[in-house]
């Protein structure tokens, strides 16, 4: 009798778990389908062309997601370009004892980095507007003055634009990268660094030649997860990037837009076809982020035998 009861309990538990998993799948599929339905007028009218097209004048029914897509990818990639060296550097400092940091200090540094992840996006945005942008003014003016011939700094700095958005995004993804790099390095066998140094390597040579390659795949996976986050980041970017969605502007000093910021900025007043276009944009963003996450998961799953110290 008792066994019978336990079996019932088991079945019940398994069914509940299955139901929960099913629910998640249903919600995802439903989300995707409703997006497709809502975007359908735009899909039917513009086809794939909308993704690459430039131009934005809702009152004349002119739409193009190209500039926003460009801004999304460029801001995400540049932010990672800044955050990866810093994040991996911080992780190395906290795990590799280049200097003998006392344990307590290591803990505090780690905590502070993790805290960066807990700051709400809107606070980053506010900080960007009232602190970062004014502070950037002289530097941006100097860049434009000295390197103005170069396309990246070809326009004068107007305040909101790609540069402050990239800098704040970099700060926002830094904790993810530092945490994953720290975990990956920390999970390596301690013997590995000792072995490298016993061969005569300096700490830096051990890190560069042995430890980073060993932790590399996992760090790369983490970096892609962070990229996924950066691509979809909305609030802070919307507050800082300037929201000019109608042309691709290579200058980092010029305002730009991302898909997420475009949606956040326009959905309130959007009507008719414009709503469908924004839904189309949401689908594009979803595809992009899903692709990056898929790649990240793939890399983390694959995890070559080098990824994890000795089997």
């Amino acid at each position: 009798m008792a066994l019978y009861g336990r079996k019932i309990g088991h079945r019940l538990g398994v069914s509940l778990l299955g139901l929960a998993a099913l629910l998640v799948a249903i919600v995802l599929v439903a989300l995707f389908l409703t997006l497709v339905v809502a975007a359908w007028p735009a899909i039917a009218r513009f086809g794939w062309g909308l993704i690459g097209a430039a131009g934005w004048a809702p009152n004349r029914q002119v739409f193009g997601l190209g500039p926003a897509l460009y801004g999304t990818v460029v801001s995400g990639v540049l932010a990672l370009g800044l955050a990866v060296p810093v994040g991996v550097g911080v992780a190395l400092l906290l795990t590799e004892e280049f200097v003998f940091l006392p344990r307590s200090l290591q803990g505090i540094c780690g905590f502070l980095i993790d805290l960066l992840a807990a700051i709400p996006s809107v606070v980053y945005g506010l900080w960007g507007i009232f602190v970062l942008i004014p502070a950037l003014g002289p530097l941006a003016a100097w860049l434009h003055g000295v390197l103005g011939d170069w396309v990246l700094f070809a326009t004068p700095f107007l305040g909101r634009g790609m540069l402050p958005a990239v800098l704040v995004l970099a700060l926002m993804v830094l904790p993810t990268i530092a945490a994953i790099a720290r975990q990956s390095l920390g999970s390596l066998d301690r013997e590995l660094r000792v072995a490298a140094m016993a061969v005569g390597a300096t700490r830096w040579e051990a890190v560069r030649g042995v430890l980073l390659p060993a932790a590399g795949t996992r760090i790369l996976g983490g970096v892609l997860l962070a990229l996924g986050r950066a691509l979809g980041e909305t609030m802070a970017v919307t507050m800082l990037i300037g929201n000019v969605p109608d042309r691709i502007e290579a200058s980092l000093l010029a305002p730009s837009s991302t898909i997420a910021s475009l949606i956040a900025n326009e959905f309130a007043e959007a009507r008719g076809l414009q709503v469908a276009v924004l839904m189309y944009g949401a689908l594009v963003l979803l595809g992009l982020v899903a692709g990056v996450h898929g790649l990240a998961e793939g890399i983390l799953q694959w995890r070559s035998p080098t990824g994890n110290g000795r089997p």
Binding site: E97, F100, D189, E191, L192, V194, A195, A196, M197, A198, V199, G200, A201, T202, E205, G209, V210, P213, A214, P305, T306, G309, R310, P311
Partner: protein, 258 residues
């Protein structure tokens, strides 16, 4: 301890003089004097915790990796005190093989080439030649010559340990340190490592820590017996095991404690 007889014709490679070592305030090695003879195998035996590993790691300044450690006295390598040299330079001259095989997560070839590369060897021909020589000296060439690009982790434990020996040999160390290199291996792999160590006699100076007294008898020319951080006795291996001067040594080698 000085070796009065039997060292005619053999040179002293390293000389430990009035040497002590501290973990913080804990004096783990106490006023040791020891001579390591050139191109001979010297084993260090003694009960667990007596300081064998600690003393061995002084020779390549491994303790410098951790804060709060301190050396006192001298370890002369030829005539230079290696305690006043740069630790990286010391580790470039003195190789080490660990208890657990610890190959790098790289190919077999790159494991051996790594030490050469950080020493600035760029010439491909030179690297190839020295990798092959090291693998031959470590008696593993025939087993890996067709799979040099394979990951080192795909080798068996005993092969990994011989690979680690090859890695240490590739850079022509003046002294090779072994810390219980066979304690993680099965008897067959152990035998092959012992054979290899015997084969290295006359080519490189070897200092080996072992828990296995038969092993010390089989492979070493000289034996140092340590107890509680002190060097109790140091002599030719046959003397230590058959005719030791100290009561404690006789008790230990006859298995009465430890």
């Amino acid at each position: 301890m000085e070796l009065a007889q039997d060292q005619l014709g053999t040179q002293v490679k390293a000389q430990v003089k009035n040497f002590s070592f501290f973990y913080g305030s804990n004096k783990a090695i106490k006023d040791v004097d020891l001579e390591v003879l050139d191109c001979k195998v010297t084993s260090m035996i003694g009960p667990s915790g007596c300081g064998k590993t600690t003393l061995l790691r002084c020779f390549n300044r491994m303790h410098d990796l951790y804060p709060g450690t301190r050396y006192e006295g001298e370890i002369l390598l030829e005539s230079q005190n290696l305690l006043s040299l740069d630790p990286i330079e010391v580790r470039m001259r003195i190789g080490m093989v660990f208890q657990k095989p610890n190959p790098f997560p790289k190919s077999i070839f790159e494991n051996i080439a790594y030490g050469l590369r950080i020493r600035g060897v760029k010439d491909k021909g030179v690297i190839n030649e020295r990798v092959e020589r090291a693998l031959r000296d470590a008696a593993i060439w025939d087993e890996v010559k067709d799979r040099l690009k394979d990951m080192a982790f795909n080798l068996s434990g005993g092969q990994q340990q011989r690979l680690c020996i090859a890695r240490a040999l590739a850079t022509d160390p003046e002294i090779l340190l072994f810390d219980e290199p066979t304690s993680a291996l099965d008897p067959i792999a152990t035998a092959s490592i012992e054979e290899l160590v015997i084969g290295l006699k006359g080519k490189v100076t070897i200092l080996i820590v072992t828990h296995n007294m038969q092993q010390a008898v089989r492979i070493s020319d000289y034996t140092a017996f340590m107890y509680l951080g002190e060097l109790v006795e140091f002599d030719r291996t046959d003397v230590i095991f058959n005719n030791a001067a100290q009561q404690r040594t006789r008790e230990y080698v006859s298995g009465q404690f430890g």
